[in-house]
């Protein structure tokens, strides 16, 4: 199971998923979290970002841009997303020293629940420490 951060999720939604993510998608093994989904949706709707996207895509088919933005409005069902009803009881039991922020707690809880590994572009020392302590795979790699 793979749990993708916002960068890797954006790569997948834009049709650029690497082979291992495509294989995982084929087997119902790709998840993200609400915080990462939220960050991606917010950033992709940032006016500077949409301006840059529109400028570069101007000469291309607008259909593709709309497709990607629609995927942000309605996350494809092939991407797993656990509900707060499921996650919060686990997040609440995670170690609090040091305290994980909401994004990190949600990511660690999701990885534990789906028995998956986190794939991120950046990781705080607090997240790295939590993954070590809780035996969660964490791969930090450029998208």
């Amino acid at each position: 199971m793979l749990v993708l951060d916002d960068h890797h999720l954006f790569v997948a939604l834009s049709g650029n998923a690497p082979p291992d993510v495509l294989r995982a998608l084929a087997h119902s093994e790709v998840f993200t979290t609400a915080s990462w989904y939220y960050r991606l949706a917010r950033a992709a709707n940032d006016s500077t970002f949409t301006g840059a996207l529109s400028r570069r895509i101007e000469s291309l088919e607008s259909e593709g841009r709309d497709l990607i933005m629609n995927r942000l409005d309605q996350l494809p069902v092939e991407i797993g997303l656990l509900s707060s009803r499921t996650l919060v009881p686990v997040m609440a039991k995670l170690p609090t020293d040091p305290r994980l922020n909401h994004l990190a707690a949600e990511a660690v809880a999701t990885a534990i629940l789906v028995d998956g590994g986190l794939r991120v572009v950046a990781a705080s020392t607090v997240l790295i420490d939590a993954c070590n302590r809780l035996d969660v795979d964490l791969v930090v790699v450029d998208a």
Partner: protein, 87 residues
């Protein structure tokens, strides 16, 4: 970078239970897995994302991710909101 080595663990509801979890956390995980298994949350639909994104559009998105445009947008989104930042 890869952090953490997988161990086989024990299995419950078809998924691994890590042996290092403290009892309170482990119980919460087992309950949550049972609930998620009942609601189907643990098994998203399989298959590729269709329809396919045109290659030239996909290339533009990759460019925006790699040239810092997305990172700058993300920095604006997370500024002042430590609960969704990477820090």
């Amino acid at each position: 970078m890869r952090v953490g080595d997988r161990d086989p663990g024990q299995y419950h509801c078809g998924v691994a239970t890590r042996s290092r979890l403290d009892p309170g956390l482990e119980m919460a995980v087992q309950r949550a897995r049972e609930r998620a298994a009942q609601t189907g949350e643990l098994t998203p639909r399989s298959g590729g994302l269709e329809p396919a994104v045109p290659a030239d559009v996909g290339a533009v998105i990759l460019e925006l991710l790699r040239d810092g445009t997305y990172a700058a947008a993300l920095a604006r989104v997370t500024a002042g909101d430590p609960d969704i930042s990477d820090a």
